[in-house]
Subunit: 142 residues, 2 copies
Amino acid sequence: MTGFSLSPQLQKDCFMLGRLGDSQLLLLNNALVPWFILVPHTDTTELFELDDETRLGLVRDSDTLAGFVKQTLGCDKINVASIGNVVSQLHMHVIGRRHNDFFWPGVVWGREEREAYSDEAVMAIVASLLANLDGRFVLSEQ
Amino acid sequence: MTGFSLSPQLQKDCFMLGRLGDSQLLLLNNALVPWFILVPHTDTTELFELDDETRLGLVRDSDTLAGFVKQTLGCDKINVASIGNVVSQLHMHVIGRRHNDFFWPGVVWGREEREAYSDEAVMAIVASLLANLDGRFVLSEQ
């Protein structure tokens, strides 16, 4: 692919935190659950059609992120999914779930309930990513 | 782990088709969408906590299955997810979606609508798996 641009819907819904490994790391602006989205740099829309390097890079990055969400943010279960029915740009959801969260035990997709983050809460998450991911996460340049 | 047993909920909801690579391959009894479930032989409940061999085997098997669902069954989009909020045994959903299916563009989880398969429809899917997956899919022994 030439260049990289993020889908307008993801830009609208998410904070652009930076880069984790080979993917852009987004945080959905919904403080009800810690809901991260990884967007690899590819025009391919299905996981199984990725080249091996991109596919395995995405596995590694999503596993790194899942470990952070479960262990550092203190969640009970991780939900991981690639859906793409509405936003076709390939993206991987990595969501931390707690036994007492708003949606538990249901899934989070298809629900409209949102609670905006405070700037401080987003900054605390970014600081924690920087402190815990040992250089694998870097801030956005823009 | 010692031995392998499938969760009672998955046994109740699914047809046990056989083994794909390193995982048991199930078909949810809901003819509204082609909804497969891979169950690796592990006691671990999170993808990121799997050992490398099991993790990469599951990626390979889910990608093989996704290719079959999209190309052979003729679907527009693949939904792949590991959720596990209700059934803790690690399992991977691989679901074929069509632009005119019952749930499109919504997700399939959390919906109650079901349509049971005919025996003939299940056998046709099994025959297609055997014909197209080049020995990687084998029937259940039981």
